[in-house]
Each structure stands twice: as C-alpha cells, then as structure tokens.
C-alpha cells in the first residue's frame, strides 16, 4: 500500500506538513515536524530508488486518472538519483538548521520559515517525479516562490534586494517556460511528456516548435543559472540564511539541470535538440565560459559564501558540459557531478554556516587564524575544498575523471584541458581560505570564540565522509548515472 503510493507520498507529505507548521506556531514543534517529514521523505526516496533499480521506471496515475488525461508521475533511474540527492540533503540539513535558524531569524518567523522550507522541498521533489509539463511548471513555481521568501530572511538587509533580483529573474524564467509549454500544447494538444515525445516528431519542422524549444531552453537555463543567465545567483546564495544556502546550493540548480535533461532527451528527443537545433554547441560554449569565468571571479571574492556561489556557477558549467556532449558517457558524467557537487557544496556551505554562527561574518578578512578556534569546522572546509579541486579519493576526482574521459571520448580534447584548468583555479580560491584560516595570526578575539555545536558539526562531517566514501567507491552514483543516462538517451531513440 505504502509502496504503491510512494510516488504521490513523496510530494504530498511535505505539502501537507507545510500548513501544519503554520498552525503549530512554536519554533521547536515546527522544527520537529519539518525534521520528521524530511527524514520520511528520505525513506520514501530510498524505497523508490530500490524499486526503480530493480524493476525499471515507475509510472503512477494521480487520482487514478489514466495518463493522457490525468497527471502522470514517472520516476526513472535519473529521477530516483535526483530524489535521493534532494531528500538526503534535506534530511541532513534539518539537525543543522535548529541552532542556525534560531541564531539568524526572529523567533516569530521561525515556524513560517519551516513552512516555506517544506514548500520548497515539495516543489523540488514534484519537479522530479512529474511526467506532465504543466505540472512541472506548477512545481517549479512552488519551489521558486518559497525560495524567494527563504532567501529574503537573511540577516543582512541585502538579502531583500537579492531575493527581489531572484524574483524578477526567476519570474522571467518561469514565464518563458510557460510560453514554451503553451506553444507545445498548441501544436500537439497534450501536456504529458511521453505523449509529447510521440507527437512532436510529426510537427517538429515547424517554426512554432522551434520557438517553443528556444523559450523553454532559455527559461530553464535561467533557473539553473547557466552563464550568462546567472546574475541572480551570487547574491542570493551569499545573503540567504546559512541553512537556505546549504539547501538551495545543493539542490535547486541541480533540479534545473534535471528539467533540462527531461526536456532535451525525453520530450524533444536528442535527435531534435542536438542534431536539428544544435543546442549542444551553444551549451558547450556557455558551459566552457562558465567554468573559466566564474572560477576566475571566485578568486577575487572577499565574502566566502559569495565565492562558493561563483564556484557553484562554474560547477554548473561542468554538469552542463557533460550534457552538451550528448553521449551516454557525457550525460552520465554530468549526472555524477550533479550528485557529487551536491555533497561537496552542501558540506562547504554548512562549514560556512557554522562559521557565521560563531563569528557573525563569512568575510575572509575576519576569518584569519580561525583554525585555532574552530579546528573541526575549518578542517571540514579544507577537506570539502580539496574535493572541489578534485584531489584523488574524493568525489571531485571521480567527477573530473568521468568528465575528462567523456570529453576525450567525444573527441573534444580542448574541453578536457579546460576542465582540468578550471579545477586548478578552484585550488587557488580554496587555498586563499586555507592560508587565511590556518596561517594568518589570529586577531585578539581570545576565548570568546568556540567550536561549532555538535548538531552542526555532525551533519557537516557526515557529508564530508560521504564525499570521501563516494570518492573511494563510486559504484552507486556511477551505476545509477550510467543507467539513468542510457534510459534518457534510449527513450529518445524510440
């Protein structure tokens, strides 16, 4: 029974819990509820992943209305991997959130904060499970609207302008997606992805479909912050509350990438997207620019959360680069990096959250000599940073290996060089922080500064441990990604 309705429960559970949080009012109870829901969502995602790995893609008719009329939820291996990423970050961020949110938010808005968090989780999970393009737009808006609110809760007043900036850009993106979906509906008379895939080839030679393709591509690229549509992201990540930075950085742009994969491969088909529309060339150029330019900009940031945000832009470049190759190896490499990057950026932003809790700042000039006061937090940052650089035995190395291999396999050796060069720039910006925290003499702040509380250190180190584990034995993400990529490309061939 439970397993039968797991796809619906995955979304319905956080959706139903969100208004309950408002009713509870008490910060502590709201946190308990949000934690329970996050961990249950992880349990459901694990169940679903097991089922998908065993018996292939799942299809679920919402309200028992059959597919073309009703809304279909569809989960394949790529989707199951995404659900795992989102829910495990969601589950790990909750114990971390308690102290951090208490410190950064006003008491009366905490319950509402958790409401928004649950709505955001709902939206992200919904995007992944749905097999219906309009439903996808709805979930995209749920997640986006709730994340505007979440970001605006940051301590500094600049959080408000950051959220507003994101609101404007995000709304443009959503509108573009809606226009694209509308055009598709006009030409085919269906919103179901599988149906669209069947009916599109007949009309794909029309200008309307090409325009629809352009609209959704640009819309989704805005959401996933593909260079040069990234302007909303650095401030949003930098000024959001620490918990929100962790959660959004690890999940939101990844879901954007997932939507891109769905649209390119499942709906339009690789043939149309990459051969007829040449989107691969455009994405490749933009991804290469993102990897290089965003990494370089990151080197010059004083605010370390902002630095990590620019690094995220570069990492999105890696993921999109893999997809732009349009080979099974390339798409798999992109998905592996998507998984790995969620783990490392989650850990790095958590370390920053701990530092903000104790230090009240994430400026590199305030972090001098911090290793003496917060050794475990700084150590987590160093290890996480080395993962980002791609040192062997870490997740970053696995990602890099697959990406370079895919690029060489597709005959693009300059891209392979670019990936490696970009990871060397990562070494530069990570090492700035290492030198500041470990080598600079500490200013006189004496005994007031303590190590972060265990409730924040443990989730950080769990993520670090996951980074090392999946760096040494990458069989789980790599087998899921490979299977997911083959399903995606195979679906397109049929």
């Amino acid at each position: 029974m439970l397993i039968l309705h797991a796809p619906a429960l995955q979304v319905a559970l956080p959706l139903a819990a969100a208004p309950l949080c408002v009713l509870l009012r008490s910060p502590r109870l709201a946190w308990v509820l949000a934690t329970l829901v996050s961990w249950s969502a992880l349990g459901i995602a694990l169940l679903l992943a097991e089922q998908v790995m065993q018996s292939g893609p799942l299809s679920y008719a919402l309200g028992d209305w059959a597919a073309p009329l009703g809304i279909e939820y569809r989960i394949d291996t790529a989707g199951a991997l995404m659900l795992l990423v989102i829910t495990s970050i969601g589950a790990l961020v909750m114990p971390f959130a308690y102290r951090s949110v208490q410190h950064e938010l006003r008491e009366d808005s905490i319950a509402l904060f958790y409401t928004c968090y649950l709505l955001c989780l709902t939206g992200l999970l919904g995007i992944v499970v749905t097999g219906d393009t309009f439903n996808l737009f709805v979930f995209l808006e749920i997640s986006s609207l709730s994340s505007y609110v979440l970001i605006s809760q940051g301590c500094s007043r600049r959080a408000l302008t950051a959220a507003y900036q994101y609101l404007v850009m995000g709304t443009i993106g959503a509108t573009f997606i809606l226009i694209g979906v509308g055009l598709l509906y006009m030409m085919t008379g269906t919103l179901n992805m599988a149906d669209l895939a069947q009916r599109l080839p007949a009309v794909s030679e029309t200008r309307t479909i090409r325009v629809a393709f352009a609209f959704v591509t640009v819309g989704v690229s805005l959401k996933l912050a593909l260079f040069p549509l990234h302007l909303w992201l650095p401030n949003a990540y930098a000024f959001a509350p620490s918990v929100v930075s962790v959660f959004i950085a690890a999940t939101a742009t990844k879901v954007g990438v997932y939507v891109l994969l769905r649209l390119f491969f499942t709906v339009f088909g690789a043939q149309f997207s990459f051969t007829a529309m040449h989107v691969g060339d455009i994405l490749m150029a933009l991804a290469a620019a993102a990897m290089l330019i965003a990494s370089l900009v990151a080197v010059f940031q004083q605010n370390i959360k902002r630095m990590l945000a620019y690094s995220s832009l570069a990492q999105v470049g890696y993921i999109v680069l893999g997809i732009s190759l349009a080979t099974a190896a390339g798409v798999a490499a992109g998905m592996i990096h998507l998984f790995n990057h969620a783990l490392m950026k989650g850990a790095l932003f958590m370390a920053m959250g701990s530092i903000f809790l104790r230090l009240g700042s994430v400026d590199i000039r305030d972090m001098q000599g911090l290793a003496r006061h917060m050794p475990f937090t700084v150590a987590a940052f160093v290890v996480g940073g080395l993962c980002l650089v791609g040192v062997p035995l870490s997740t970053g190395f696995v990602s890099k290996w697959y990406l370079v291999e895919a690029a060489l396999g597709a005959g693009h050796w300059p891209l392979a060089v670019l990936v490696l060069a970009s990871s060397l720039i990562a070494l530069v910006y990570i090492w700035r922080v290492v030198e500041a925290t470990c080598f600079q003499p500490a200013p006189a702040r004496a005994g007031s500064l303590k190590e972060a509380p265990a409730s924040m250190l443990v989730p950080t180190w769990v993520l670090i441990a996951a980074n090392l584990y999946f760096g040494i034995d990458a069989s789980l993400p790599s087998s899921m990604a490979r299977q997911g990529a083959e399903t995606l490309l195979g679906f397109a061939a049929r």
Binding site: L386, V389, G390, V391, P392, L393, V398, K400, W401, Y402, V404, E405, L408, G409, W413, A416, V417, L420, A421, S423, L424, L427, W431, E435, F439, G471, I472, D473, A474, S475, S478
Partner: protein, 488 residues
C-alpha cells in the same frame, strides 16, 4: 603472514602510526619511540616482500574498485620493492636523526611534524607498491598533500610563499598534464595495468604516444624536469630532516620512480625507443642536467646548492629511462639508490652544521672541519659518491648510465653525463676541502670539537658508510634490477 597481507600492511602501517603519534603528543619520548618502532616494523615488512620478489614471487592485492575497471590495487615488483626498501630504511635513519635535530634546533609543532612525516612515508609506500598507474597517481597526489604541512612548517611568510609554489607546481602539473595523460591512456587502451613491454604498443600511434610521453614527463613535476623544477628549491625552507628524506629521497624519487615505471611497464622499452619524440625529450633531460649543475655552482646557501644538485641528479635517472635500453633502466634504478644515500648524507650534514654552529652559507664554512670532523668527513664521502668516484656507490650508477648511452649510440649524452660529473666536482668538493684545509677566522675555541647531537652524527655516519658499502656490495641491487630489465 601471507604475502598479500604483508603488502597491504606495508602501505597501511605508516598511516596507522598516525594514531600513536597523535595520541602521545604530550609524551615526546614515547611519541618518537612510536615512530622508531613503526619504521623498524615497516623495514621488516619490506624485507619480507623483497625476499618474495627475489624468489620470483609477485605478491598482489586489490583493495577496492573505485570506478568500473579501475581499482586501488597493490603489487610488489622489483623496482617498487627497491624503492620501498630505500624509503623505509632511510626513514628509520631519519627518525633517529630527527630526534637529535628537532630537539637540538628547538622546533615547534613537533607532533604535527612526526604525524605528517608518517603520512608522507605511507604515501611513498603507496607509490612504490602501486599495482596500477591509477593507484600510483592517487598516492602521488597524496604525497604532495601530506608533505605540504612539512614545507610550511615554520608558518611564516617565506614558508607560506614556498608552500604556494610547492603546491601550485606539483598539484598543477600533475592535474593539468599527468591526469590528462592518464585519462587519455585509459580511454585509448582501456587499461592502466603495469605490463612488461607496455600497454600502448599496437594500440596507440607513435606520434600520439610521443605527446602522451611529453605530458607524462612534464606532468610528473616531482621528477623536477626544467622548467617545472622551482618547487624543489622552494621546499628547502622546511626543517632539514624533511629536506633530507622527503626532498632528496621520498618525494623526488617518487617522481623518477614513476618515470622508470612508465618506461618499463606502460610504454615498454622497445616502443619507447620507437617514438620519435623520445629523442627530443632526452635533450630536455640533458639540458636540465647541465643547467641545474651550473645554477648549483652559484648558490651560497648550502641547502639550495644541494637542491639544485638534486635537480641535476634526478635528470640522470630520467635520461636513463629515456635512453630506453636495459642498461639505462638498470643505471637509473641504481642511481635512485646511490644518489639517495649520498644526498641524504649531505642534507644530514647541512642540518648538523646548522644545529651545531648555526651556519647555512657555504662561504661561512671555512675551517669548520676542525670543529666538526666527523660531519665534514661524511660530507666528503657523500660528495665523492655523488660525483661518482670509486670506491663509492655513485660510481656504479654512472657506469651503467654511461654504458646505456653507448648501447643507444648516443655519444652526445655520454659527454653530457661526464660534463655534469665535472660540474658536480666544482660545486661539491670545495665545501669539505675548504672546511679542512683553510683556516676560519681566528677563534680561540675553533680547535675544540663541537659536533651536533649524537643522534644526528650517528645517522649521517651510517648513511656515509652506506655509500661505501654500496660500492663493495652492489650485487643484490644489480640482480634485483636485472629481473626488471630482462623479463622473466
């Protein structure tokens, strides 16, 4: 113990030693005992592996499959066991020396020092005993990271800058070139296994293989081919035991060891000789040899002079590998050992001089032979060994390298080797000669013997004695390397 367990234990033991070293941070004597006991156990493990390999065994073990088809695996083969033996024996000696030096010089953060030292040795073991190129690369990178805290040990601005150069060049070259070549090899051949005769022949065109070879040689920054040599002089800010064991033996030899492994097991000597670019790369090695020797002549700081000498000496080994003849590999392998004993003695002496008299410059060392007779005598012996004069070990490696140039019909390279030997006479010998045969400033206490702590002097005398013994008894090494040059 089964050979597989011995093999895994040899890699794991130094890492395990981190625990007692960190746990005993408040008891310096116990902490140092932990290091000594570990080093001794490691030496015994490696000796047992050596025994296996000499009898024709090839103990191998696989730990985990990281990516499909790519495992972290270990294997003991002749060259690797030789390197492991060298590193573990000299670790034991250096551990004794460090106790005298670190305490005599009053260094801070000694626990971190000993912990990183153990981790660096573990990484070296991983490089030496790696069962495929993938594993070798992993431990090669780990070695860079574990030695970084040792280079920046002093923590001041100079050390920080040196650390930046060190990490930037070593990690940068290995990520940009070595990793690229590694993944390209993997995608061209589908394997990274070490196989006698190489894995590239027949699958990769000689032109492409030449590009791969260049990427590998410049990617292995630890072999210090010019222009990627700057990290080695920079690393000299580290405490002397680090310069002695890591930057004269473990780290730099890990680089040239990788080059030798590539020549024998990835390219294969026959195929290597057939690649057009190989000949051009020998010129790079020859140029490094001569230029580094010339720069060494101009250094007044003793450790810097030794560092440039190391850069030159490493190129002998790279040259030996690139000559692509059995004698070249044999000479290269022997030179790894001979140079290690000579250079570690010289660094031990430099450290002893610093501890006993505070002197770091060559120009200050006039007349020092009277105050530190044992140290300067060891310095003289080691210098002669580096130069390659019988009856010292360095003679044999130069002999075989010279033979290799004749085998390969490369007389110009023979001239380079001889010229560089003459240059090393010019930059090394004046130091002990001036110390013994000129007077320093007239000082009343100059006549009194004032040596470094006993632990330091004992260590440096032992390695100097090693230089002598290696001349008299090179046969075990020769037989071991024969297994490598001629397939079984």
């Amino acid at each position: 113990m089964s050979p597989e367990i011995t093999l895994l234990a040899a890699v794991a033991l130094p890492f395990v030693a981190l625990l007692p070293v960190l746990a005993l941070r408040r008891h310096p004597n116990l902490r140092e005992s932990a290091t000594l006991v570990t080093a001794l156990c490691l030496l015994l493990l490696v000796l047992s592996l050596l025994n296996q390999v000499q009898q024709g065994g090839r103990p191998a073990a696989r730990v985990v499959e990281t990516l499909p088809g790519l495992s972290i695996a270990f294997e003991a083969e002749p060259l690797g066991v030789l390197f492991a033996l060298l590193a573990s024996f000299l670790w034991l000696v250096t551990a004794v020396y460090s106790i005298g030096y670190m305490r005599g010089h009053g260094e801070a953060h000694q626990t971190r020092f000993y912990a990183c030292f153990a981790a660096a040795l573990g990484s070296t073991m991983g490089v030496a005993l790696a069962g495929n190129l993938f594993t070798l690369f992993i431990f090669y990178e780990l070695l860079t990271l574990t030695t970084y805290p040792l280079v920046t040990h002093n923590g001041d601005a100079v050390a920080r800058h040196a650390g930046r150069v060190y990490l930037g060049l070593l990690l940068g070259s290995s990520v940009a070139f070595f990793l690229l070549a590694l993944i390209a090899t993997w995608s061209l051949t589908g394997t990274l296994a070490f196989r006698h005769g190489g894995i590239l022949a027949g699958l990769v065109a000689p032109g492409t293989a030449g590009i791969l070879l260049a990427l590998y040689l410049f990617g292995i920054g630890k072999a210090a081919l010019m222009p990627l040599h700057r990290w080695l002089p920079a690393a000299m800010v580290a405490p002397t035991p680090v310069s002695a064991l890591l930057h004269a033996v473990a780290v730099v030899k890990a680089g040239v060891f990788t080059v030798l492994k590539l020549a024998v097991y990835i390219f294969g000597l026959d195929y290597l000789a057939a690649i057009p670019l190989t000949q051009w790369l020998t010129y790079v090695a020859a140029a490094t040899l001569l230029l580094a020797s010339l720069i060494a002549l101009r250094q007044d700081n003793l450790k810097l002079r030794l560092a440039y000498s190391t850069i030159g000496q490493l190129s002998y080994i790279v040259l030996g590998a690139l000559l692509a003849t059995p004698a070249g590999v044999l000479g290269g392998g022997l030179h790894m050992v001979m140079h290690a004993f000579g250079k570690i003695t010289l660094f031990f002496c430099a450290g002893a001089i610093l501890v006993a008299s505070g002197k770091t410059r060559v120009s200050e060392m006039r007349g020092l032979g009277r105050r530190m007779p044992f140290t300067m005598a060891a310095f003289l012996i080691a210098s002669l060994s580096i130069i390659g004069i019988p009856p010292l070990g360095g003679f044999w490696s130069k002999w075989f390298l010279g033979l290799a140039t004749l085998d390969a019909d490369r007389l110009a390279m023979l001239a380079v080797i001889l010229t560089s030997s003459l240059l090393s006479v010019a930059y090394l010998l004046p130091i002990p000669l001036r110390a013994f045969f000129t007077d320093g400033k007239p000082q009343p206490q100059a006549a009194r013997v004032q040596e470094a702590p006993l632990a330091c002097v004992a260590a440096l005398l032992l390695t100097a004695l090693g230089c002598l013994l290696l001349f008299l008894l090179p046969e075990p090494l020769y037989r071991l390397l024969q297994l490598l040059a001629v397939p079984e």
